[in-house]
C-alpha cells in the first residue's frame, strides 16, 4: 500500500433523498471525510450493477449506493426494486471474493444530514481498513506512450 | 491533417462537412486520388472510420468529407473544432472508372448523404480541363426532405449551368419546395434518360440502389455500364480484416465501385 494512500469512494445518491441529505449535511456544516465522489442518480433503483463494476475497474476503492427509505421513494417503488438488485449483487460479489464492505448500501432521507455524514464516516473507515481495491482494477499503465506493457 | 473549416449541411444537423488541409506541402503533393475513393479518418481515443472523399482532385490543397452523425467516430467528428488535428489513411479503394467515361454521356444518380463521392465526381467532370472529355452530364439527386439536401449552394450553381442537366427531388416536400417530389427510382423512370452511349453511376442507400437497378434495366442500360459505389462496414480498408467482402471481392480494396455486371454474379450481401 502506498504510504499516503487515501481511499477513493464513489457514492451513487438518489436525487430526492440521499442527495438532498448530503446537501443538508453541507449546509449544516457537518464534517465528513472528503473521500467520496458523488454521482447523482434519479433513484437508487436506477443503479445498474455495471455502474458498480465499472467504478471498481476504473480505480475506485469502494462504492456506496444510497436511496430513500422504504416507502419514501419519489417513484413509489424504485428503491424496493433496487433493494432486490442490491441484495443479490452484494451477495454475489462477496461470493466471488470481493471483500465484505467494498460495496455498501444505505437509506438516507433528505432530513438526515447527520446520518449521511455518519454513513460516509463508516464507509470510509471500512474501506480504509480493507485497503486499495484490487479486484477488477485495470492497470492504467497499459495505455499511452510511456507504457510499461 | 488539420480541420480547416467545418459547417453543418442539413437542417437536422446530422451532416457536417469538414474541410481538411495537410500539415505540410509535401504530404499534400504526395496525395493523389480519383473521385469515388475513400479515406479512413482517425481520432485518437475514438477510433477510425471510412468516409468517401467529397472534394474533387481538381480542388487543390484540401480534402472535404461530409460526415453523417451515427456512431462514436462520427459523433466525435461532429464535435471536433476547427484547427484540431486528426489522422487520415488513404486514398483507399478503386474510385469511379473516369477513363471509361471519355466521350460518353454520364448519368449520375444519388440519394441522401451518399451524394458525397458523386459530388466529387461531378465537380471533377465539370472542371474546365475535364468537361470536354465527356458529353452530356445528367444528375438526379434525391433526399428525404428539402432540408436534407447536401451542398445546396453548389446545386444552385449547377442549376444555372447549361452543360449539366440537374434534377433534384425530395421524398416529401414542404411549403417552400418548388422542385420535384418523388422517389429517385420513380424520377429516373419519369426522366427516362437515353441509355445510348451512356454510363450510369449510382450511389445511395441500399434500398434505393435495389429499386434503381431494375429501372435502369428497363431503360436498356447494359450491366457493364452501370456502376455503383457500395457501403459496407470496414475496419482496415486494405482487404485484410475480412468483413467487407461480397463474394470473393472486397469492397474496400476491389471496390467500393462495382459494375452491375460484377455484382450480378455475387451473393446479395450488401
Amino acid at each position: 500500500m502506498e504510504a499516503n494512500w487515501e481511499p477513493k469512494i464513489l457514492a451513487f445518491l438518489c436525487n430526492w433523498c440521499s442527495y438532498a441529505g448530503a446537501d443538508l449535511a453541507g449546509t449544516s456544516r457537518i464534517q465528513y471525510p472528503p473521500n467520496i465522489r458523488v454521482i447523482r442518480v434519479p433513484c437508487s433503483g436506477r443503479i445498474n450493477p455495471l455502474f458498480v463494476l465499472k467504478a471498481l475497474q476504473g480505480g475506485i476503492d469502494g462504492v456506496l449506493v444510497s436511496g430513500c427509505h422504504p416507502g419514501d421513494c419519489h417513484y413509489l417503488s424504485g428503491n424496493y426494486v433496487g433493494r432486490r438488485k442490491s441484495a443479490t449483487l452484494k451477495r454475489f460479489l462477496e461470493y466471488l471474493g470481493i471483500e465484505v464492505g467494498r460495496v455498501q448500501f444505505s437509506w438516507v432521507s433528505a432530513a438526515e444530514g447527520g446520518k449521511f455524514s455518519q454513513v460516509i464516516e463508516e464507509v470510509t473507515q471500512d474501506i480504509r481498513r480493507l485497503g486499495p481495491a484490487k479486484q477488477f482494477r485495470k492497470r492504467s499503465d497499459e495505455f499511452g506512450v510511456q507504457s510499461s506493457e | 491533417m488539420v480541420i480547416k473549416k467545418a459547417h453543418v449541411e442539413t437542417t437536422d444537423r446530422m451532416l457536417r462537412t469538414l474541410e481538411l488541409s495537410f500539415l505540410n506541402e509535401e504530404e499534400a503533393r504526395a496525395f493523389h486520388f480519383i473521385p469515388g475513393q475513400f479515406c479512413e479518418l482517425s481520432i485518437f481515443g475514438k477510433g477510425e472510420a471510412p468516409f468517401g472523399i467529397a472534394s474533387s482532385p481538381t480542388e487543390n490543397g484540401s480534402l472535404k468529407f461530409t460526415i453523417n452523425k451515427a456512431g462514436v467516430v462520427t459523433t466525435a467528428l461532429h464535435h471536433i473544432e476547427e484547427g484540431a488535428e486528426i489522422g487520415i489513411r488513404g486514398p483507399l479503394g478503386n474510385g469511379y472508372p473516369i477513363d471509361l467515361f471519355k466521350g460518353k454521356n454520364v448519368l449520375v444518380i444519388g440519394g441522401g448523404f451518399a451524394f458525397t463521392t458523386l459530388r466529387s465526381l461531378v465537380a471533377y467532370l465539370l472542371h474546365t480541363e475535364n468537361r470536354s472529355k465527356v458529353n452530356e452530364i445528367t444528375v438526379i439527386y434525391g433526399a428525404r426532405m428539402p432540408g436534407l439536401l447536401l451542398y445546396k449552394e453548389e446545386l444552385l450553381e449547377w442549376e444555372k449551368r447549361n452543360d449539366l442537366k440537374l434534377i433534384v427531388t425530395v421524398d416529401w416536400g414542404d411549403k417552400d419546395w418548388k422542385g420535384k417530389v418523388g422517389f429517385v427510382p420513380n424520377v429516373l423512370e419519369e426522366v427516362a434518360p437515353s441509355s445510348k452511349n451512356t454510363y450510369a453511376v449510382i450511389c445511395g442507400p441500399p434500398i434505393m440502389i435495389k429499386f434503381t437497378f431494375p429501372k435502369l434495366m428497363a431503360l436498356r442500360f447494359p450491366n457493364e455500364r452501370i456502376f455503383t459505389s457500395l457501403e459496407r462496414r470496414m475496419k482496415c480498408g486494405i482487404g485484410k480484416c475480412g468483413r467487407c467482402n461480397i463474394g470473393p471481392l472486397y469492397v474496400c480494396k476491389d471496390g467500393p465501385v462495382f459494375s452491375y455486371a460484377q455484382l450480378e454474379k455475387l451473393p446479395k450481401d450488401y
Binding site: P49, L50, L53, K54, Q57, P70, G71, S77, Y80, V81, R83, R84, K85, S86, A87, T88, L89, K90, R91, F92, L93, E94, Y95, L96, G97, I98, E99, V100, Q104, F105, S106, W107, V119, E122, Q135, F136, R137, K138, E142 | G71, V72, T75
Partner: protein, 314 residues
C-alpha cells in the same frame, strides 16, 4: 420407450399440422454427442433420438422461431427456460408445444474423456452402463458416475410444464444440502475464491459461446457489444474478462434454469455454473423464487415485497 414416444408425438403434431416444426435431438457426428434437429417432415421423425447425450437446451432456438408454432423436446431445465422466456414475452405460450421428457440426467462427455486414455471412437449406453470403445481400448463405465454437475444437483427433472410427458415422472431427489459445490466453495477464504474466479476467467477467449448457448441471453445488443456507452473493451485484459463473466452471470439472476448450457458450450472449459447456481440459490432463499416453476410469478428482480429483507442496508 422414450425415443419411440417422442417420434410418435412429433409425427402426430406434424401430420395434424399442429406445429410448423419440431426441434429435437438427432444423431451427432461425434461419440457422446447429439445434435439439434429441425424437423418439418412427419415422414422423417424417426430421426429424432433420445439418450444420455441430449445436453443442449433447445429453448435457445425459441426467440429465433417466434413466428412459428414450435414443438420442442425438453428436459426439466429446458422446459423451465421456455416458461421463463414466455414470461418475458419472447414467445407466446400458445405457439409452443412442449414435448416433455422426464430427465434421467445427462452424461458429461468431458468427464468420460478424462476417465479413459486415448480418443473415444464409439459410445453406446444400455441399462445405465456406458460402453466405450476407443483407439486400442474398450471399457464399461457406470453412467451415474459421469453426470453433469448441474444435473447432479437438479431437483426439477420432470418437465411438469410440458404439454405432454413421454414417460412417468421421475423420482426427484431432494438434496440434503442445497448445493454441495457452492457450500464447499463458500468455506474458502475470499482471496481463494477470487483467485479461483480469476484463474477460470483468465482462459476466456471471448467467443461468447456461453452467451449464445443460453436461452435467456437474447438481448438485441449485449452490454459487451454496446459502443455507446462502451462498458468494457473487447480484448483479453483480465479485468474485462472478469467484468464480462460477472455481468453475464448476474444478468441471469432469477432467470437461470440451471441447465448448465453455458458451461457445456465453453471450449476453454471455464467453470460457469458455480456462478449462476449461487444466484439461483440466493434468489430461492431470499425471494422464494425458482425459474420456470410458476407460470405466473414475475421474475424476482422485476418485482418486490415491502417486507423484503434489508439487513445489509445501513
Amino acid at each position: 420407450m422414450i425415443q419411440q414416444k417422442i417420434r410418435e408425438i412429433a409425427r402426430e403434431l406434424l401430420t395434424k399440422k399442429e406445429v410448423d416444426l419440431i426441434i429435437g435431438f438427432g444423431e451427432g457426428t461425434l461419440p457422446l454427442r447429439t445434435t439439434p434437429r429441425f424437423m418439418r417432415n412427419a415422414e422423417k421423425t424417426d430421426r429424432l433420438i433420445w439418450n444420455s447425450f441430449c445436453e443442449n437446451n433447445l429453448a435457445v432456438y425459441l426467440p429465433k422461431f417466434s413466428r412459428f408454432k414450435v414443438g420442442l423436446v425438453v428436459k426439466g431445465c429446458d422446459a423451465r427456460s421456455a416458461v421463463a422466456l414466455s414470461l418475458e414475452k419472447r414467445f407466446k405460450a400458445d405457439q409452443l408445444f412442449l414435448i416433455g421428457v422426464p430427465c434421467q440426467r445427462m452424461v458429461d462427455r468431458r468427464k468420460v474423456k478424462r476417465a479413459v486414455r486415448g480418443e473415444i471412437l464409439q459410445a453406446r449406453e444400455e441399462e445405465g452402463i456406458l460402453y466405450i470403445k476407443g483407439d486400442g481400448f474398450e471399457t464399461k463405465l457406470n453412467r451415474e458416475d459421469f453426470l453433469y454437475s448441474s444435473c447432479q444437483v437438479c431437483i426439477h427433472r420432470t418437465p411438469l410444464q410440458a404439454n405432454v410427458l413421454v414417460d412417468d415422472p421421475v423420482e426427484e431427489y431432494p438434496l440434503t444440502e442445497i448445493h454441495p459445490e457452492i457450500s464447499a466453495f463458500e468455506k474458502r477464504s475470499s482471496e481463494e475464491r477470487w483467485r479461483f474466479f480469476e484463474k477460470e476467467t483468465s482462459r476466456c477467449i471471448r467467443c461468447y459461446a456461453c452467451r449464445e448457448a443460453c436461452p435467456m441471453c437474447y438481448c438485441a445488443e449485449c452490454f459487451v457489444d454496446s459502443s455507446r456507452p462502451k462498458w468494457i473493451e473487447k480484448g483479453l485484459n483480465s479485468s474485462d474478462l472478469q467484468f464480462y463473466h460477472v455481468v453475464r452471470a448476474y444478468h441471469q439472476t432469477g432467470r437461470c434454469s440451471g441447465c448448465g448450457a453455458c458451461e457445456r458450450a465453453c471450449p476453454m472449459e471455464i467453470r460457469l455454473t458455480y456462478l449462476t447456481q449461487k444466484l439461483n440459490q440466493e434468489v430461492k432463499e431470499r425471494f422464494g423464487f425458482e425459474t420456470g416453476i410458476d407460470r405466473d410469478a414475475p421474475p424476482p428482480l422485476a418485482t418486490f415485497e415491502a417486507e423484503d429483507k434489508q439487513e445489509f442496508i445501513k
